[in-house]
């Protein structure tokens, strides 16, 4: 069966393939049910693993007795924390790959304490799921239940239950001598804050509260691990980075990474939540003990109770502006829930909140606070959405008080090339203004509104990351090319890699086979996260293709017996400058490869810098039902700077997906805990994510202000789209009702309460 499609719909000037919309190479497998995701592998003799999870939010483990479970029929292995090495602090890295081995090993399998309801503390492998679950029920655990804490303010109070006796706040002077739940304090301090507020004609200040929300990928975490007689492990799983799975799994087992091979399954969504490990090392240890392959697939309930989410937050911000709308100062404090172990994205929140604007005087404090809920994981633009909910709501308030159009206010303060960002670096060429103008010029911005309807705008910023990536390109005997990378394809990146390779090699995009290779077949590559793949892995692909082209030219030169400088590579062919020799295609050169030096192949590796920052501006139209408090999204439009859209359909898809997640965060999604610290809504029925009937079409405008740090101008596009929606929705609700919403989610109950409080 062949799939055909007209590739070129809106090719960029100067490019043949970049900017076109071919059918993705892995598409056929994914519409026919052939694609293999994490849970789709069954091996002969395979056992089913299951994990025992804490029913308490905070408790000391006095004893675990697994003897009865061990003796049960069909049970082949049982593990507890004692089966894994105790690791000490010393993690490094930054952004979405930050981790501390001390915490990671305790999160994967609790040691002396359980720190949240759902915390893993034992696991079994048995011949069926039924037997595995029966064995879990037979494990006896003696707990000393401790008081727990979930709210950041309560966790910072002097009498709060302490999660870690050895957690001393970092970033404060003097260094405290007592442990607390505040893992660190981060500060941005620029300019003269008092002078800034003295210059202001209006000052607005407000407090905001947001709840933890989950990434909500539809595919639960799943793994099959098979440890052979030679002690080596083969791990098949879906993740945002199989090299990450390899290094973490090996480290948590006390092994060298080379003892673990990770085969990437297709991944059914991640959004940052699959940038760490949970069940992978557990399955590997069970398999090692049982001598058989072990499969663990989380239930949805486990996904909610033990993975993700991102932080809930308490934020206070104050903004000053002059009468003509110039922002003079911002000041405030943000406290984010880290979950059971340090590492909330609060510093990123501080950096991102006002990053679209040129502001001289800034004083922002971020507090990373541990509480008794699952350790937070990265979630699309980690830390930025809640901070921008606060900052962009206040800007709307400033615009209102000054009687300035909210987009105009943003334009007057917009950061541009040469401006020093709030978080430090000086911007290179950026496209923030262009996103604001795109919204202003879009028909939605001037569509008339009816009764109980309102319109809100908001902007957002995300850094985008670069980092390490590898790629290998082979020219096959028929002149086609295989492009191998180590980046899991979470939303169309194979197509982007193929488009860039087609552009460089000059051959048809369907003559490129993009492959996501396992950890033994391609060089080290960091996770698919931080909006880095098209940028960094793309650069590795481009570099490898350029090496191949150099080689192809040299081979043609050899055949023609001319100097290589006389050979050009044009449209997938070697041409002699004189034009008096028949050009040679990749097929011709591949056919003669044996005589010119053997197979044609090249690899490249990069540690990419120069990731271009991304901005998004969005407009949302809502209708608020004054009787029920329900908010309906009538129209939505998002403009985002993509630098250069390699495959515009998947750029639009990222923009739309980010908006939809943001709308869910704005209106419905939240972790709800009972008084014992148990999550009350660990399922899709009660943790309500948007469905098709909740949303309108989401209009997109791709702005293209090329990133000077990438050969084609690419900027990451995956994350920034989730940053503006909460404030855009809140500002629209304000426009419709006159109410300022400062708590998420803005569920019907909360909106109704606010209407009531307002005497409506």
């Amino acid at each position: 069966m062949t799939v055909t499609a007209t590739p070129t719909t809106d090719s960029q000037p100067g490019y043949k393939w970049v900017g076109t919309r071919p059918v993705r190479h892995d598409g056929l497998d994914k519409v026919t049910g052939r694609a293999r995701y994490g849970a789709d592998l069954n091996l002969p003799g395979m056992l089913i693993g299951a994990v025992l999870r804490s029913p308490h939010a905070h408790a000391r483990i006095l004893s675990i007795d697994t003897s009865a479970a061990q003796a049960m029929e069909g049970v082949k292995a049982v593990v507890t924390g004692a089966d894994f090495p105790m690791l000490e602090s010393g993690g490094e890295g930054s952004g979405e790959e930050y981790y501390d081995p001390r915490d990671l090993c305790r999160n994967v399998m609790a040691r002396d304490k359980v720190l949240y309801e759902g915390h893993a503390l034992a696991a079994v492998a048995a011949t069926s799921r039924r037997e595995a679950l029966a064995a879990l029920a037979a494990i006896e655990v003696d707990y000393d239940v401790l008081p727990h804490v979930l709210d950041v303010s309560e966790a910072m109070a002097p009498d709060a239950p302490i999660l870690h006796d050895d957690l001393i706040t970092e970033g404060v002077d003097p260094i405290p001598d007592e442990p607390s739940n505040v893992a660190s304090r981060y500060v941005i301090d620029r300019g003269d804050i008092e002078k800034g507020f003295a210059e202001a004609d209006v000052i607005v200040e407000r407090e905001f509260v947001t709840q933890p929300v989950h990434q909500g990928y539809i595919e639960p975490h799943a793994v099959v691990a098979d440890v052979g007689e030679d002690g080596k492990a083969t791990v098949f799983c879906s993740s945002q980075g199989h090299f990450m799975v390899r290094s973490h799994t090996a480290e948590l087992l006390g092994w060298e990474p080379s003892r673990v091979k990770v085969i990437p399954a297709e991944i059914g969504g991640g959004f940052g939540g699959k940038t760490t490990v949970y069940v992978e090392p557990v399955a590997a240890r069970l398999s090692q003990k049982a001598g058989r392959p072990v499969k663990i697939v989380m239930t949805r309930d486990e996904v909610f109770r033990a993975t993700g989410p991102t932080s809930g937050s308490k934020i206070r911000l104050k903004v000053g502006a002059t009468r003509d709308g110039r922002l003079t100062a911002v000041e405030g404090s943000m406290a984010y829930q880290a979950g059971a172990f340090k590492g909330s994205p609060v510093s990123l929140g501080c950096m991102c909140a006002f990053a679209p604007y040129a502001i001289e005087n800034v004083l922002l404090e971020g507090l990373d606070v541990v509480v008794n809920m699952p350790k937070v994981a990265a979630y699309r633009a980690p830390g930025a959405p809640m901070a921008s909910f606060a900052s962009e709501t206040l800007l709307d308030e400033v615009a209102e008080q000054l009687g300035i159009d909210p987009l105009e206010l943003r334009l007057r303060n917009a950061a541009e090339e040469g401006v020093r960002s709030v978080y430090g670096p000086v911007y290179k060429r950026i496209g923030f203004k262009e996103t604001v103008e795109a919204v202003r010029d879009h028909p939605q911005y001037s569509t008339e509104l009816g009764p109980n309807q309102g319109r809100g705008v908001a902007s957002g910023f995300w850094f985008n990351f670069g980092g390490s990536s590898s790629a290998t390109v082979h020219i096959n005997e028929d002149g086609s090319a295989s492009v191998l990378t180590g980046s899991p394809d979470i939303g169309g990146s194979r197509a982007s890699m193929a488009l860039m390779a087609a552009e460089e090699l000059g051959i048809d995009v369907y003559d490129i086979t993009p492959i996501v290779s396992d950890t033994e077949s391609v060089g080290y590559t960091e996770v698919t996260g931080g909006s880095r793949v098209t940028h960094a892995t793309g650069m590795a692909v481009i570099d490898a293709c350029r090496k191949v082209v150099t080689d192809l030219r040299a081979r043609a030169a050899k055949v023609w017996d001319v100097d290589v400088e006389e050979v050009e590579w044009v449209d997938g062919r070697a041409q002699h400058v004189s034009g008096d020799r028949a050009p040679m295609t990749t097929r011709d050169l591949a056919a003669g490869a044996a005589g010119t030096g053997g197979p044609i192949t090249a690899s490249a590796a990069v540690n990419a810098r120069g990731a271009g920052v991304a901005f998004s501006t969005q407009v949302c139209d809502v209708e608020v039902d004054p009787e029920t408090g329900a908010v309906t999204i009538l129209r939505y439009m998002t403009a985002q700077d993509a630098g250069r859209a390699i495959h515009p359909s998947y750029v639009e898809g990222q923009m739309q997906g980010g908006v939809a997640q943001g709308i869910g965060w704005a209106l419905n999604e939240e972790y709800i805990f009972d008084t014992g610290g148990t999550m009350e809504n660990p399922g899709f029925l009660d943790y309500r994510m948007p469905v098709a009937s909740d949303l309108p079409m989401i209009d997109t405008v791709i702005v293209e202000v090329p990133n000077p740090g990438h050969p084609y101008g690419v900027r990451g596009v995956g994350e920034v789209g989730i940053v503006p929606p909460m404030a855009a929705v809140a500002n629209a609700i304000h426009d419709a009702t006159g109410l300022r919403m400062s708590e998420l989610p803005m569920s019907p109950v909360k909106v109704l309460e606010a209407i009531g409080a307002n005497g409506g």
Binding site: M1, V3, A5, R21, V23, R24, D26, G27, L28, K30, V31, T32, G33, R34, A35, R36, Y37, A39, D40, N42, Q215, G216, Y217, I218, E219, P220, E266, I267, G268, G269, G270, F271, V297, T299, R300, I490, G491, G492, S649, Y650, E652, G653, Q654, Q656, G657, G658, V659, A660, Q661, G683, F684, L685, M689, P690, V691, A692, S693, L695, M697, I698
Partner: protein
């Protein structure tokens, strides 16, 4: 535990399998029959990843016990493409970039087929409600809804005018 023998029709072919009494149709289709295109996102009927057409009606296979399939006709994503090529929904999903990660795609294709089987010319709103039992976390539904509408158009053009 003794197993139940089930005889049914899967994707047009006669099929039989052994299952446990309390095993779901989802688990049986995946782990016994080997149709891994039927996905599990929740096992509680809330995500639609496990959608199948059972006796002509859209169902969450995680909510059906396998023995209930005795004598039934079951359609899954694996049966949508035929010798003549892809189903129009599969084509429009590919061309319209209606999938990102693709885990929800089999469920949406099956739900979309169930809709078009009974309503060949749905409005946007009818499409949105018809797939409201299917969660997609990647796309924001825009391209999925458009692709289903496009498939309806394509099938309408291909069908002889009545």
């Amino acid at each position: 535990m003794s197993r139940t023998h089930v005889t049914c029709t899967i994707n047009g072919d006669p099929a039989e399998f052994l299952c446990e009494e309390d095993q779901t149709l989802l688990d049986t289709l995946r782990d016994v029959v080997g149709l891994m295109g039927v996905k599990e996102g929740c096992a509680t009927g809330d995500c639609g990843a496990c959608s199948v057409i059972l006796n002509g009606r859209l169902n969450c296979s995680c909510l059906v016990f396998a023995p209930e399939a005795e004598g039934a006709t079951i359609e899954t994503v694996e049966g949508m493409a035929g010798p003549d090529g892809l189903h129009p929904l599969q084509e429009t999903f590919l061309e319209g970039a209606a999938l990102q990660c693709g885990i929800c795609t089999p469920g949406f294709l099956v739900a979309g087929k169930a809709l078009l089987d009974r309503n060949p010319d749905p409005t946007e709103e009818e499409v949105r409600y018809a797939v409201a039992g299917n969660l997609c976390r990647c796309t924001g539904y825009d391209k999925i809804v458009r692709s289903i509408l496009d498939a309806a158009d394509r099938m309408g053009e291909a069908a002889p005018a009545s």
